[in-house]
């Protein structure tokens, strides 16, 4: 007899920790690429929670959602990195504090 599987809440708490770390990264890093990577960490944390819940309910829905999140992340990366490259070409910097041209 195998031991009962690990309680799902362990995974969800871990995903919350990763999500909070990602959000922290967005708030404290000033470099556009690192901010973007922190967003990826947040999405990744959400994916972990989705897969954990899918396991809990023994359903496929959570896993399919992860599939969509990953595809959307890929689309976001294509556009986001293009924007970062473009802005670097013009400004020679991707520090988001220097993006302060837009003010009154």
């Amino acid at each position: 007899m195998e031991p009962a599987p690990l309680n799902i809440s362990a995974y969800v708490v871990l995903s919350a920790i990763l999500f909070a770390m990602g959000a922290l990264g967005v708030l404290i890093r000033r470099n556009a690429i690192l901010v973007f990577m922190s967003v990826e960490l947040m999405l990744n944390a959400a994916n972990l929670a989705l897969i954990a819940f899918a396991r809990f309910y023994n359903q496929m829905d959570g896993q399919i959602l992860v599939f969509f999140v990953m595809t959307v992340a890929a689309a976001e990366v294509a556009v986001g990195l293009a924007l970062i490259v473009v802005i670097f070409r013009t400004r020679r910097s991707i520090n988001i504090d220097e993006l302060s041209r837009l003010k009154d």
């Binding site: 031991p3 599987p5 690990l6 309680n7 799902i8 809440s9 362990a10 995974y11 969800v12 708490v13 871990l14 919350a16 990763l18 909070a20 770390m21 990602g22 959000a23 922290l24 990264g25 404290i28 890093r29 000033r30 470099n31 690429i33 690192l34 973007f36 990577m37 922190s38 990826e40 960490l41 972990l48 897969i51 954990a52 899918a54 396991r55 809990f56 309910y57 023994n58 496929m60 896993q63 992860v66 599939f67 969509f68 990953m70 959307v72 890929a74 689309a75 976001e76 990366v77 294509a78 556009v79 990195l81 293009a82 924007l83 490259v85 473009v86 670097f88 910097s93 520090n95 504090d97």
Partner: protein, 225 residues
């Protein structure tokens, strides 16, 4: 302590350490590599949660393709130029506030999860263990119940492709602007020839100055094409 708990503690610790490494490392390349490690750890969790197909997608698409793209851009822009900003004085109160918010978030979710007394999932039986979360099952649900979002994602990828091309390619001159450009070049050439003839007709001290003037617009002309 079962094998699963043991694995969870080890891999979970590595995942959190990798996330911390991504947040605080001094070089963009290191950050990206730490994120790859974190993604790989999460892929291990997917395997433990009987989602083998998503685990493989996580490795190939996320840790593979997407992160390589990140690394590529970091290197393209020059990693030494990636300034950290961690010590930026502008942040001031923002950093501790962000830390406080992050801790608060973890506490709230953890409280919500742990007070709920979620029962452990049912152990999977042998049949489920071999099919659940495999490519066949994922495909079966994807092409029936989730057909609409699947099609929408296809359009989304098209939009992203258009966007990447529109944003990243050089501004291609239209015929009209090309004609204007050619006109300007012709004017410049005329100016140069007039200056040259003037310089030739008035030899002496003026000659050097004229040459300089003539040289200045010349590199501008091809740059505009």
């Amino acid at each position: 302590m079962g094998l699963e708990t043991f694995l969870f503690i080890i891999v979970g610790a590595v995942a959190v350490a990798a996330a911390a490494g991504m947040l605080f490392s001094k070089s963009g390349i290191h950050s990206a590599l730490f994120l790859v490690l974190n993604l790989a750890c999460v892929a291990v969790f997917y395997l433990m949660l009987s989602a083998p197909f998503m685990a493989m997608v996580q490795i190939t698409v996320y840790a593979g393709a997407i992160m390589v793209l990140f690394l590529f851009v970091i290197m393209l822009l020059g990693s030494e130029r990636i300034d950290l900003g961690l010590t930026d004085r502008r942040l001031g109160f923002q950093t501790p506030a962000a830390f406080a918010l992050a801790v608060l978030f973890i506490v709230v979710v953890a409280a919500a999860v742990l007070t709920g007394q979620i029962p452990a999932p049912q152990p999977v039986n042998d049949v489920q263990a071999t099919t659940h979360g495999g490519p066949g099952e994922v495909g079966a649900v994807l092409y029936t119940r989730y057909l609409l979002p699947f099609e929408m994602v296809a359009v989304l990828l098209l939009a992203a492709t258009i966007g990447a091309v529109v944003l990243a390619r050089d501004v291609i001159p239209t015929k009209r602007s090309q004609r204007a450009q050619m006109g300007r070049i012709r004017e410049l050439r005329q100016m140069i020839t007039t200056i040259e003839t003037e310089a030739a007709s008035a030899p002496g001290a003026d000659g050097e100055g004229a040459e300089e003037e003539a040289a200045a617009p010349a590199p501008a002309a091809p740059a505009g094409e």
